[in-house]
């Protein structure tokens, strides 16, 4: 910074992410509030000091109803830090700000809290299920001894060799356009349809969906060949690719 500032003290602006609880009420609000009271009675102080986001997506309510709901919640010491999915027309001054771009967090992160009960006591008719988007990565360099490529989200493609002492762990299939000398573990999160492909098989260990095969257990005829491996029942099958 070459420019002189009038005040030497700089303003610090930081980004920080907090875990917020999202409440998605449904109509009629009176019934919903009764169930909320029931939950609050069973786990006292659950909402105390906890940031709460109100999800009003697809609720046919107007500004007055929303205002009333916020007031009801405030009376129960549930402090709303933001409103998600609300049409601009129902939001107004004096209300928490509109939020967007929130990402769902897996239940484990808050599993200690009885948030699960919220679902139990009231089975929601149509929860939009988050479908995991299929992903894959491509690595253009050889994977060296001591390196591991861990990609539980999907397929791994290596353009190069995998050295002895290196390992590839993929949630999906593994494709190696080179020699596989190290370890390859496909379907690591439980995926029996994952496969392993390699241009030249010299592997130390192969695994699909937790079933593994050591170098000594492999048919000697496969060594040094282009091979694909897959799972049939509890055994790893292999065949030469042309």
């Amino acid at each position: 910074m070459t420019k002189m500032l009038t005040d030497a003290r700089a303003i610090r602006i930081k980004g920080r992410s907090f875990l917020a609880v999202v409440l998605a009420p449904d109509l009629p609000f009176d019934d919903w509030l009764v169930r909320l009271d029931d939950l609050a009675a069973r786990s006292a102080g659950f909402f105390l000091g906890r940031p709460v986001v109100l999800d009003v997506t697809d609720l046919p309510i107007d500004r007055a109803q929303l205002k009333e709901l916020i007031a009801e919640l405030a009376g129960r010491s549930v402090n709303i830090m933001g409103i998600e999915g609300g049409r601009p027309s129902i939001l107004g001054p004096g209300m928490p700000p509109a939020l967007k771009g929130g990402r769902p967090v897996s239940d484990e992160a808050v599993a200690k809290e009885p948030i699960i009960e919220l679902h139990n006591s009231e089975p929601k008719p149509s929860v939009p299920e988050m479908r995991p988007t299929l992903q894959s990565i491509v690595i253009r360099d050889p994977v060296r001894s001591g390196q591991s490529v861990i990609f539980p989200e999907g397929d791994v493609t290596i353009i190069g060799s995998v050295a002895s002492g290196a390992e590839i762990i993929a949630g999906g299939s593994i494709h190696i356009y080179g020699t596989l000398r190290g370890r390859a573990m496909a379907g690591s999160l439980g995926n029996a349809s994952a496969r392993i492909f390699c241009r030249k098989l010299e592997a130390e260990l192969l695994a699909i969906d937790g079933i593994y095969k050591m170098a000594d257990d492999m048919a000697p005829g496969l060594r040094g060949h282009s091979v694909q491996l897959w799972l049939e029942g509890d055994s790893i099958m292999a065949e030469k690719l042309i």
């Binding site: 050889p142 060296r144 001591g146 190069g160 060799s161 002492g165 000398r181």
Partner: protein
């Protein structure tokens, strides 16, 4: 600005120190200013191979700790005006080798010398990672046998992740120097073949140094093999490797083979 080369291998006893001294002397004979730096604190050897063990007063650790100036620690070779040695400490603890200190010394050396050749200790501990940290290019010394090749592969992985160049997102230039190559054993199939090593490591080859008594003899008289007996087979191979480091393109000869078809094949493979 000079170029910083790290001579490394992972495994011990493959010929890092011998190669550092030989390449340093070979480059210095091209009238370029060269300093060889020993990073093996506690187990220094480069001073012996360079024949300077009785002239060590200050060392790398002294410079890093601010107890001596760089010019006081540098030892000029008696035979070559442009060749210098910065010895390691034999008595101090290797924890005295700090990242900031190493950076300062390397930056200073780069200003004065055309080539700064760092002799890495074996292993993958802090000494080895600090020796490679500021390098512009790496010479990976490998013997044609499986354990050395696997360790070299590990070191190449570290060169691509732990160095300043890698952290800046640039690509570290890596060269393979195959040492202790025995033509007779290769013929009998007792050693990995050159093409197998190249296939596993997939980095360009800058030279194959034959196993030779000349190397041992040179070490024992305290001279780099490229100074002790410039006409010997290993010395010639080191001279060629030094020329390739400097950017010349030469066909590579496999010891025991006739120069010709093979040289052409490997020149192409290595490119």
């Amino acid at each position: 600005m000079g170029k910083v080369i790290v001579v490394t291998s992972g495994k011990g006893g493959v010929g890092k120190t011998t190669s550092t001294a030989a390449l340093g002397a070979a480059l210095a004979q091209r009238n370029e200013r060269v300093v060889v730096v020993d990073f093996d604190v506690g187990l220094r050897n480069l001073d012996l191979v360079m024949g300077a063990e009785r002239r060590v007063v200050y060392d790398l650790i002294n410079v890093i700790q601010g107890e001596a100036k760089l010019s006081q620690a540098l030892i000029r070779d008696k035979r070559l005006e442009t060749l210098f040695l910065l010895p390691a400490s034999q008595t101090r603890d290797k924890d005295n080798l700090t990242p900031e200190g190493v950076e300062r010394v390397i930056t200073e050396l780069k200003r004065v010398f055309d080539w700064v050749i760092c002799d890495s200790p074996a292993g993958i501990e802090s000494g080895a990672t600090l020796a490679m940290r500021h390098a512009d290019m790496a010479v990976v010394v490998t013997n044609p046998e499986v354990s050395s090749v696997r360790d070299s592969d590990r070191i190449i992985g570290l060169l691509d992740s732990k160095t300043m160049k890698a952290e800046r997102g640039e690509r570290m230039e890596k060269h393979l120097l195959l040492t202790r190559y025995d033509a007779n054993r290769a013929e009998r199939g007792d050693m990995l073949k050159v093409e197998d090593v190249l296939e596993i490591l997939s980095i360009p080859l800058i030279g194959i140094i034959p196993e030779s008594m000349d190397v041992l003899r040179a070490s024992n008289i305290g001279a780099p093999v490229t100074l002790a007996d410039a006409r010997s087979a290993p010395a010639m191979a080191y001279f060629d490797a030094a020329r390739r480091l400097a950017g010349e393109v030469l066909p590579i000869t496999i010891p025991g083979e006739k120069r010709g078809i093979f040289g052409k094949i490997f020149a192409r493979r290595a490119a």
